[in-house]
């Protein structure tokens, strides 16, 4: 049997979630980069793997699958030795994980991805920044972080729904929150400081999935620094223009 082939770009939050899951669980894989900034997701050869042209996607010995949550659930149920806490067999516990993952699509993800896209990375994808869309997404993001804080981090455990160990929902949501690093250190702190439980939870996910979580996020730290420097350069340029006037 061949290795599991993952089609990912580490700049994409769901790509990172699937990758970290495999690394943390010792699943042997081949990582295929689909460079989003170069438009590789729109090429015919990738369309054969995922007709929706999105990452992540996978090829498990001829079985093609996309949508990161579906992939995570599939991997949990297919590969041996995955611990129960990732996606509990207990029906009610599992239902709560499903609930968070479903909510994620229309809550946190839409807020976070919308804000980052419309206020930072749109030009890289050949689109224009959209301040109004960014503002709407930011309101949704803030409400979503508040919901994580008050609805799912209320138990004794460190993880969502009060669990003592992380589930695929913790991983998926944590990778999404990490994308906010691209907004810059000040903005990131600002968003998390008002939700101290979310901040502790994120640190717990990172620690528990060490070193994989940090390693796979390395690309995000680098991109965040690059955007930060770019913002500073632009601010200095603007200052210079003002002082000349």
């Amino acid at each position: 049997m061949g290795k599991l082939r993952l089609f990912v770009d580490r700049m994409s939050q769901p790509s990172r979630a699937v990758l970290i899951f495999c690394l943390a669980n010792g699943i042997d894989l081949e990582e295929h980069l689909v460079n989003l900034a170069k438009g590789e997701h729109r090429k015919a050869e990738f369309k054969l793997i995922n007709p929706m042209c999105q990452v992540p996607a996978m090829d498990d010995n001829g079985f093609h699958l996309f949508e990161s949550h579906a992939m995570l659930k599939y991997l949990v149920c297919t590969y041996p030795n995955i611990k129960d806490h990732w996606y509990p067999a207990d029906l009610r516990k599992r239902a709560q994980i499903d609930c968070i993952l479903d909510w994620h699509h229309s809550g946190l993800r839409r807020g976070s991805a919308g804000l980052v896209m419309n206020s930072v990375i749109a030009p890289v994808m050949g689109r224009k920044l959209d301040p109004q869309a960014a503002a709407e997404a930011e309101a949704l993001l803030k409400a979503s972080l508040g919901k994580i804080e008050t609805v799912w981090l209320t138990g004794n455990g460190k993880f969502l729904t009060g669990s003592l160990q992380p589930s695929i929902a913790d991983l998926s949501l944590a990778c999404e929150v990490m994308q906010l690093q691209l907004l810059g250190k000040a903005k990131f702190s600002d968003l998390l400081d008002s939700n101290p439980k979310v901040k502790n939870w994120l640190a717990a996910v990172e620690r528990t999935l060490s070193p994989h979580f940090s390693q796979v996020h390395d690309i995000i730290w680098k991109a965040a620094t690059m955007y930060e420097n770019k913002r500073e350069r632009e601010a200095r340029k603007a200052d210079g223009t003002i002082s000349k006037l």
Partner: protein, 229 residues
């Protein structure tokens, strides 16, 4: 033991999916209406059931759950008489159903939901119409219908991924597509005319789940008709 309690408004597409699922599978339940137009979903007593203030939600003997897909998955597994085709135990078949349901959240649902709300229904919920948002949603809706046609209805069976029997993905997506009734029968026909396979599929879902599918959509049809007058 008391019955399963559903908190729903039949005007909401995911609410209908849950009600139809229970009726079609003979799951005894009590339907508790959360009237969206009256703002019942924003009341404190309902937020104790679902802190997000959305329908549907369930109370299964003290176990509260929201998000319609999570509810459908839970009911498929928790109630023993539900046939396997609804949410197959086979890992690969189940993964394909999960994939369609996940895809739904960011495609057909915002397409259809966004269009109906922003072009016609917003005032009912106390919000202004927004034609720019409606037009964007319409583009997404049309693209999504095309995807269903070319990707998931390209095999022999009448249902998604070529199945002979409907799954929870068929039910969820069909209830969503029915929401465009708000824009009128004519609009719906026009929308589906380039995609005869999608039209056949929608008819097949309605037929397979008769009379429940038709019955549960009565409120939507009557509401849409009254609204358009």
């Amino acid at each position: 033991m008391g019955k399963l309690c559903l908190f729903v408004d039949r005007i909401s597409q995911p609410s209908r999916a849950i009600v139809i699922f229970c009726l079609a599978n003979g799951i005894a339940m009590e339907e508790s209406e959360v009237d969206l137009l009256k703002g019942d979903h924003k009341k404190a007593e309902y937020k104790a059931i679902n802190p997000m203030g959305l329908v549907p939600a369930i109370d299964d003997h003290g176990f509260y759950l929201f998000e319609s897909h999570a509810i459908l998955r839970y009911l498929s597994s928790a109630y023993p008489d539900v046939a396997d085709h609804w949410y197959p135990a086979d890992v690969k078949k189940r993964a394909q159903i999960d994939c369609i349901l996940d895809w739904h959240h960011t495609n057909l649902r915002p397409g259809s939901g966004g269009l109906t709300i922003n072009r016609v229904a917003a005032p009912l919920l106390g919000r202004p119409l927004d034609e720019k948002a409606a037009a964007e949603s319409e583009v997404l809706l049309k693209a999504s219908i095309k995807r269903i046609d070319t990707l998931w209805l390209n095999k022999e069976g009448s249902f998604l991924t070529g199945n002979e029997q409907p799954s929870i993905a068929d039910l969820s997506l069909a209830c969503e597509l029915m929401q465009v009734e708000f824009l009128g029968e004519e609009y719906k026909s026009e929308l589906l005319s380039p995609h005869p396979k999608v039209k056949h599929w929608l008819d097949a879902v309605e037929k397979a789940l008769a009379p429940h599918f038709g019955d549960v959509h009565q409120k939507l049809k009557a509401g849409a008709l009254a609204f358009r007058k």
